[in-house]
Symmetry: C2
Subunit: 154 residues, 2 copies
Amino acid sequence: MEMGTNWLNDVEMRAWRSMLSVHSQLYNQLDEELVKAHGITFAEYEVLVHTSEGPGGSVRMASLAEATLISRSGLTRRVQHLVAVGLLERRRCKEDKRGTFAVLTPLGCEKLRAAAATHVRGVREHMISKLSRVELEALADALEKVVDHNSEPG
Amino acid sequence: MEMGTNWLNDVEMRAWRSMLSVHSQLYNQLDEELVKAHGITFAEYEVLVHTSEGPGGSVRMASLAEATLISRSGLTRRVQHLVAVGLLERRRCKEDKRGTFAVLTPLGCEKLRAAAATHVRGVREHMISKLSRVELEALADALEKVVDHNSEPG
DNA sequence: GAAATTTGATTGCTATTGCAACTATCTCAT
DNA sequence: ATGAGATAGTTGCAATAGCAATCAAATTTC
């Protein structure tokens, strides 16, 4: 259908639409692989990863929400579930009694270790391996530039 | 926390994580702009776009689901909503009586035209404008390569 | 050409998400 | 100190998503 609209040009369109496609493909694929192999979703895996990156395998909820790119309420419930299945613990913060830490349990640590192998293999297989070193660096640089610009205030 | 795990190396990590970040940032930003300016979500906008690209502004449901990267059941309900607000119509397919077309209404056409301006401006502002011509082409090429590899059967 | 299989699409159900509202605690200006 | 406002986190609620089951129509098989 002809719209006479101000569409994106070819390069712009290819960049934007392929971003949506890559994200969708990889997210679904990696999620499926994790669920099949380890019984956790990609979303849950992300929580474990970012928790493990904090000191002592613990992170404040707000920080974790930001790292995992979801809302605070969404994170509350994801953590609730991970606590229920024994992969995380919650710990009150002593310096700020409003605060809560998510803490990796030994079981969570085990699970993360195992899942990371699957995840890393998936990322390499479905994305990294399709690109040359140069292409990968160009991709990382371009994407990071966009992230940085949009992260700054204003 | 030290995990001794087979993590991604620096470039791999930067490429992969920044992809997640860019997608999240842009999706949320563009969605918010469309909702504010035109009262439709980005997901709904995508349906209108891909519908308009079919002959006579009409597309079969299955094809539309694939283009908009969601499940068929998800699409059924999105289209239901867009029909309810008058932006789409449903039309039975005569050659295959199982089939259904989503068809853009005149109102939907208007809405798309208006929303496209907002959307295109957003994509340019939040992504395209942060990159040089060369960077943008490298980004598009790399992402498309990944998409193509993962789209092929096998 | 009837039966079996496949395909197109929708529906029931459940899970996940975010927004807005809420509680609790902290900070700061006066 | 105290009261106003900011911040951390959780909860109610409604919207949206996908899977599995279902129904209808087309296609294949024998």
